[in-house]
Symmetry: C2
Subunit: 599 residues, 2 copies
Amino acid sequence: MVINSNRVENSACHDEPTTSVARSANATPMPPLEVHKVCLPPPRTTVEKLRHRLSEIFFPDDPLHRFQDQKPLKKLILGLEYFFPLFQWGPDYSFKLLKSDFISGVTIASLAIPQGISYAKLANLPPIIGLYSSFVPPLIYSVLGSSRHLAVGPVSIASLVMGTMLSETVSYTNEPTLYLKLAFTATFFAGVFQASLGFLRLGFIIDFLSKATLIGFMAGAAVIVALQQLKGLLGISHFTGKMQLIPVLSSVFHHENESQRKPKLFWISAAAPLTSVILSTVLMVCLKSKLHGIKTEGIAVGRTFAALRNYQVDGNKEMVAIGLMNMAGSCSSCYVTTGSFSRSAVNYNAGAQTVVSNVIMAAAVLVTLLFLMPLFHYTPNLILAAIIITAVIGLIDYEAAYKLWKVDKLDFMACLCSFLGVLFISVPLGLAIAVGISVFKILLHVTRPNTVALGNIPGTQIYQNLSRYTDAARVPSFLILAVEAPIYFANSTYLQERILRWVREEEEWLASNKRSDIKCVILDMTAVTAIDTSGLDAISEIRKMLEKRSLKLVLANPVGSVMEKLHQSNILETFGLEGLYLTVGEAVADISSSWKAQP
Amino acid sequence: MVINSNRVENSACHDEPTTSVARSANATPMPPLEVHKVCLPPPRTTVEKLRHRLSEIFFPDDPLHRFQDQKPLKKLILGLEYFFPLFQWGPDYSFKLLKSDFISGVTIASLAIPQGISYAKLANLPPIIGLYSSFVPPLIYSVLGSSRHLAVGPVSIASLVMGTMLSETVSYTNEPTLYLKLAFTATFFAGVFQASLGFLRLGFIIDFLSKATLIGFMAGAAVIVALQQLKGLLGISHFTGKMQLIPVLSSVFHHENESQRKPKLFWISAAAPLTSVILSTVLMVCLKSKLHGIKTEGIAVGRTFAALRNYQVDGNKEMVAIGLMNMAGSCSSCYVTTGSFSRSAVNYNAGAQTVVSNVIMAAAVLVTLLFLMPLFHYTPNLILAAIIITAVIGLIDYEAAYKLWKVDKLDFMACLCSFLGVLFISVPLGLAIAVGISVFKILLHVTRPNTVALGNIPGTQIYQNLSRYTDAARVPSFLILAVEAPIYFANSTYLQERILRWVREEEEWLASNKRSDIKCVILDMTAVTAIDTSGLDAISEIRKMLEKRSLKLVLANPVGSVMEKLHQSNILETFGLEGLYLTVGEAVADISSSWKAQP
C-alpha cells in the first residue's frame, strides 16, 4: 500500500510500514519485506519558507549563532567582539604572542615593500603610493578584521585591473594629477561598494567570477601589461594609452619602423633589460613548482582557519572591514588593497598569532618610507619595467589552464574567452563574456539534462546506470529512468520528448531481441532537486501520453520540495494509489507482485 | 574493498563484488553482504563526448532514426515523406477519410471565420486580413506540415503581440498603408526567423518563455487591448497610440472630463455596448470551466499525436513549415499565423484524419470571402470593440495565476512581473524582465542548493532526510549529508561554509545530548548531477578541512560525469582506498566494520 494523495497531509509518516498484499520470493530481485510511504516535508507557512530561504541566501554561515541563548550583557560583549575583533584577542595578548607576531611581521614586510613598489607600478602609480598602501590599510584592518593571519596590502590582480581600467581613460604620463585623483576616487568607491555588498550580505555575487574566468582574465591582462612595459624597456616616448593588444602592438612595431634608421642604438639600449627579463623569466619557471605550492597552501590557509583554530571568519563581515579599510585608505593616498594570499601564507608559516603582525609590518614600511625611500627614487624605469614583466608573467597560469582543458572543456572555453576578450576587446567586456559563458553553462545543464536508464545489480536493491555498470541488468517489463536535473520550464518540453524517445528505443530493442514488452515506466526522481509549474505540467503530460500507450508511470523518491509541489498541484491524485514509491526497488517489487496477484 | 583510483581505469566493473574483511551482524542496521565498486562511465574521446552533447542539444527527438539501416532508395522516399508529409498520407487517401476531413473542416471553418475577423481586429488590422490569413496559410501547411490535426490560422496571442508592438510605432488610423506594410514585413521576418530557428534546430530557445511568463504577459496585453477598445466603445476621437497603461487611462479620463459638459449624451451612447460587454463577460465566466477543459485538451492533443497514432512530430521541422507558411503568407496579404490550440482540439474531436481538413476550411473561408464579406463590412466599430473586449478578457487566466501562487511563489513573481512590465513599461521590456526572473530562479537554485542530513530508516538500507522522515534515525559516529544540486563555481564557496556549519551544529547537538562524536562525514552525491573545476577544488578543500578536525570524508554514488571529473582531476587519489562507495548503506557498513577491526 502506497501513498494516497488525500491521506498525505494527515498520515503521520512514522506509521509502521505496511507489508504488501501478495509476495513471492522469486518474483523480483530480492523483494523488500515492506513498502514505505513517501512523506511530505513538515508543513511550513509561506512566511516560514521565505524566512528559511532568505536565511540560506544571506546567512548560510549563520554568523549570529554565538548570540543565541545568551544574556543581554554577554550579547553586548559578543557584539563588540564581533564588530571589533580586537576586543576578542586583546585582553589575552601576551609578550610571547608579540614575539611570534614580531618575527612574522618583519618577514612579511620584507615581501610587502618590493611587492608594494612593483604592484603600484602595475597600476601605473608612483612607487611611493604602493608603500603608503602597505602602511595605512594594515593598521585599520588590525582593528576591524577578524582573520588573524591575513596580511593586507596591494595585490597583483587588483593593481592590474585598476591600471588597465584607468589607463583606458587617462594617461598617467600626460595628466599625472588627474590620474592620481581618479585612482583614489576609484579606491574610495571600490571601498563603498565592498562595504555595501558585505553589509547587504551580497558577497556571494563575487562567486559568479569563476576560477576559470579569473585564470583567463589574469593571463590576458598580464600579456597586455607586459607589452605596455615595452615602453619602459625600449624607451618609446609616444606610446598608446589603450589597453587592447592591437594598439599596443602597433605602437611597438611603429616604433621599430622608426628606429630602423638607428638600429644599433636601439638594440644596445634594449639588450640589457631584455636579458634581465629573460633571465628572471627562466628563474621564475624554475621556481614555479615551489611557488605554486605556496600559493595553493595560501588559499587553504585562508579557508581552514575557521576549522583549525575553531574561530569563524564571516566573509560578508570581512568585506565590510576591507571596504572600510579602502575608504579610509583612499583619503590617505592609498590605492586598492585587500588580503594577499601569498603574504598571508608566509605570515602563517612564519608563526603569526594575531593581526598584530600587520601592525609590525606597517611599522617596518614606515621606517622604509622615512629613511630608505630616497634610494628607490633613483631606480631606473628600465629595471622597474623588468621587475613588472617578471611579476606579471608569473600570473599567466598555463598549468591551471591546461588542467581546465583536461577536466572540463567548457570551463576552458570560459577561460579562453575571458583571455581573448581582455586581449582583443576590453577588460569589462572580456569579463562580461566570461561570466556569460559560465552562466550559459549552468543554463545548458538545466536545459538539456542527462537522462539515464537504470538496471538492477543482481542480488541487491541497487539500481544503477545500465551503460556504466555492466553487471546491472534490465528488469523485465520495466523501464527505469533517472532524470539528472531539476525539471523547469527550460527543459520540460525536452524531457517529454526524451522520455518518449527512451520508451520508443526500448520498445524497438525489446522487439528486436524478442523480449516481453514494457508495462511500467519508473521515473527515479532522486536527482530532480526542484520542479516548477511547467515541470509539473510536464509530469502530468508524460503520464497521459504513457497512459495512451497503456503504460503505467510511477515516481520514485521525490525530494521534499518536489513532493510538496506535486501535492499542492493535485497531480498526485491522478497518479492514484500506486504511483509513488520511496525507492525504485520497492516500486519494482510491489508492482510486479500486484501483477502476479491479478492474473 | 573499494575503489583504488589507480585501478579505476583498468578495473572491469563487472568483477565479482568482494566481501568486506570484518563484519558482525549487529554492527550496523542490516549490513550488506558485499561492497560494490564505483565504476567510471565507458571511456569516450572528447570528439565522441562533443558529438553526444551536440546531438542531445540539437536532436533530442532523434528525427533521423527512421533513416537508419535503410537502403538508398528507401532513404530517398523517406526523405521526401519527411519534407513533404503529403507523400506519406497521400497515396492511401480514401473517400472515407475525405468524409471525416470534410466534416471537421467545415466545423473548424465555422470557428475560424469569426475568430479570424476578431483576431485581425486585435492586431489593429482590417477584418478581411484575418480571413486572408485563414485561407492561404492552411493551404501551404497542408503540403509542408507533419501534424495531421493542427488547424492553422491567426491566433489570439500572436495577434495581440503584433498589434501592441506595431501600435507603439505607427497608428493605423493615421497611416493605414504604412501600418499594413509594416504588418506584412513583420510577418515575413517572423517567418524567416521561425524557419531559421527550426532549420538551425534552435527551437528550444522558445522554452525560455515559461508558462508563468506567458500567463502574465497575456493578461497584461489583454488589459491594455481592452482599454484601447474604449476608443471604439466611447467614441473617443483623439486617442493615444501608445500601449502603456498610463497614457491609455489618461486618454480615457481626459475624454471623460471633456464629456462632463454633455453627460447624458455620453452615457446613452456608451450604455448599449457596455451592457453587451458586461453580458458577454458574464457568459464567458459561466462557460469558463467548459472552455478551460477544451483548451487543456487542445494542448494534450497536440502533444499526444505522436504517442497515440504512432507518428512523430518533429518540433523543429514544424517550425520550418510554419516559418515558410508565414513567409509565403506575408506575400499574399496575410499576417502572422500558427497552429491554434482551440481549433486543433475541435478539429481532432470532429474526427479529422489528415491535414485535408485544413484545405476544406480554406475553401469554406474562400466562399465567405467571395460571397459573405459585404455583410461584415457594415459591422459597427462598437460591436467589434465589444467582441474584442470579450475575447481578450478570456485571455486573462486568473485561475492559472492563482495556481501559480499556490504552487510556486517565484513562478508567480515571474508572472506578476511580466504582467506589470507589459502594463506599465513596454511589451519587450516586460517580457525581458520575466525571462530574467525565470533565469534568475534557475541560478538561485544552483547558487544556494539545498543540503540535507540523512538518517537510516530502521531495518532497511534506505537513507532519508532526517527532518522529513521522522522514523529515520541518526547513524552513530556518522554525519550523512546529501547535496541537492550540481557543484559549480557559483556555489562552491557556499557549500564549503554550509557543510562546515552542518558539522559544527551536529557536534554541538551531540555534545548537548551527551552522544559520541562524529568520526566520518558521508556526502551522498546522487543528486550532484554535474561538477566543474571550482567544484572539484571545493571537494578537495572540504576533505582537507575535515581532515584537520580528524574527520574522514567519504563520497557515495557520484554520477557518471562527476565520477569522470573526479578521476581526471586526480582528486580520487587523495581520498585513498576507502573514500568512495556505491551507496550510503555500504559506506556505513564497511567503515564501521573497519573501525571494529582495528581496536
